[in-house]
């Protein structure tokens, strides 16, 4: 299955990417599985998405926790805590 990834703000800068299409092997991956997969790339990926960092997630433009399961065609975004207002 394929998902569309987006990165925002300090995370976008640290990863030097605003997103990508990602192909996943497992049938019902969770948000946390995608994070693990990205961290495994090492370098800036393991650093910017480190376990000690607060990484927020949105699935199809709604904030979701890291246990949320993904399906084919989902839009998944990662970003730091929000600072609007």
């Amino acid at each position: 299955m394929n998902i569309r990834l987006h990165f925002f703000a300090s995370l976008r800068e640290a990863l030097d990417s605003d997103g990508e299409m990602l192909e996943l092997e497992s049938p019902e991956p969770r948000v946390a599985d995608v994070l693990d997969l990205l961290r495994a790339r090492g370098g800036r990926w393991s650093e910017a998405l480190g376990e000690e960092k607060t990484v927020m997630a949105a699935v199809n433009q709604e904030m979701r926790d890291h246990d949320t399961r993904l399906k084919d065609g989902d839009e998944l975004a990662f970003f730091p805590p929000v600072t609007g207002g």
Binding site: A9, S10, A58, Q61, M63, A77, F79, T83, G84, G85
Partner: protein, 152 residues
Amino acid sequence: MQQVLVTAAPFDPHAESERLHAQNPAIGAVVDFIGWMRDFNDGDPVSRMTLEHYPGMTEKALQKIVDEALARWDLLGVRVVHRVGELKPSEPIVLVAVASAHRGDAFRACEFLIDYLKTRAPFWKKEVTRDGERWVEARQSDGRAEKRWEEK
């Protein structure tokens, strides 16, 4: 009038609030919260700021917060306007205008809206200081302000 607007153009918060009021003669109270850009943050002078957002999600998240306020209080109108892009000190960042028949609902809904916006709407501030650019860190006090509304 649409309840939520995310705009890269400067806006006049007083004119926005006046337009909300002019819609309905049953309105007896309007409470405005206006968030202004300061020229100082975390001990340093700030000369400029850039606000990033998540096009699509930001508008949806704001509308969801507005719908929650409308379900919770007796309101006659809501207008939320939030800037994105590049801002200078003394420009308005956000307006939350709430209209009701009497002050109680408008006061409470306005505070609820800005508290929820601060933790649930995807916006990110990056400021320019003398030492260069830096991302603004989220405040824990904003999380506490949001939590208050869960108990009531």
